[in-house]
Symmetry: C2
Subunit: 232 residues, 2 copies
């Protein structure tokens, strides 16, 4: 809720228990000063509004956050994360949090990715959903066309790619504008989607794991790219 | 189950539905040749044995996997992940998977970390639980003493540390034997635990996220360390 208040016009209505308002005095003052309605409710009513097992006592009704890709990308944007058919809400939330931490300029959801307004995505993003531009892409082709039009190098994260991210970083061969495409948890990126990308790069596997979780792979790819871009 | 069969003596007993055995012919031959009992059961019985919503049809009863730290660490071990009070089973499973992928030599659970034999940890590790030595540490002090005795540089992952992992890697200042300590999801590492470590290093936050999920932070720390060590 605190992060939602940071986005102008995002919060439409707030429900809170008196106890929660007492526990979070600074937030309570912000809520009372807001241009939206603030309704007190009891624990049972709050619990039925919040989907979590141990609700924190304050719930906000918010507007949608996504924007068109053309509006989301600032002119000097350098790093974008594209979730392609990412289906698990916990994974998508962790990916958004991680893109925020690594300083990505936007997160784009393409193909049949899970709804970013799903409550588990919102919770797993730990506020990051409100921090960086979110784009609900349409089909993969249209999404990647729009990124190409903005001069992004579109890189598919593919576990079996011969080129690995550490080699590319060591050779300073990462683009100035990079859009990483992360595929589905179970089957990765299909051949048709891979054909739309400019390049395939792997996170190397040194042990016996078959693959990495999509959010951990994204953390390695996004941070390594951010470091290479910032060293220039 | 396939990964458990790779650990000598690990599998004690197997339950499977006839359909699952037909779907996985190679595994079925391995199971029939095993020195443990293989019992056929129907879907309802299998579902009551498997804790997952969509069980895959084969369940193995396995022995415990953990060993003492002194036995777990081979002489040329270079990279160890220590989970200190990591409570969420999904996080611990993802951390074990990620340590396996990054080529870590062992995972050590210290303090009040979640039971690694919890079914959610096992599933989230996607087989990696069976791939690398697992140590159930006792108290933090005893665990870190044992690592110090093996000449490990014990590094605490602390978001607020002034030194960041990219700077340390760029200066080639990462130890030849590194044990990373990852703290609790909610409160990180406490002062007492931090005092036991040799050094604190942060994953830098470039955006507005307050922190990273423990498994994504571990992915960045472990891979960056593995790359620095492998470049030598």
């Amino acid at each position: 809720v605190r992060e939602a208040l940071g986005v102008a016009g995002c919060v439409h209505q707030v429900f809170a228990t008196p106890n929660a308002l007492r526990r979070h005095e600074d937030l309570a003052s912000q809520l009372r000063a807001g241009s939206f309605s603030l309704s007190l409710c009891d624990d049972a009513a709050l619990a039925s509004l919040a989907a979590s097992v141990s609700p924190q006592g304050i719930v906000a009704v918010c507007g949608f956050l996504d924007r068109a890709l053309a509006d989301a990308l600032v002119d000097d944007a350098k790093l974008v994360a594209v979730a392609a058919h990412v289906r698990d809400p916990g994974n998508l939330g962790a990916l958004i949090r991680c893109a925020d931490a690594a300083g990505a300029d936007a997160v784009v959801l393409a193909g049949s990715s899970v709804d970013p307004y799903n409550d588990k995505v919102v919770r797993a993003s730990v506020g990051s959903l409100f921090h960086l531009p979110l784009v609900l892409g349409t089909a993969m082709a249209a999404t990647l066309d729009a990124l190409h039009a903005k001069q992004f190098n579109v890189v598919a994260a593919v576990g079996s790619a011969p080129e690995t991210i550490d080699q590319v970083a060591a050779a300073d061969a990462i683009g100035d504008r990079v859009a990483w495409v992360f595929g589905n948890e179970a089957w990765g990126l299909g051949a048709a989607d891979r054909a739309l990308c400019d390049r395939e790069i792997a996170v190397p596997i040194y042990g016996r794991a078959e693959s990495l979780n999509v959010a951990t792979a994204a953390a390695v790819c996004l941070y390594t790219t951010a470091w290479a871009q910032r060293r220039r």
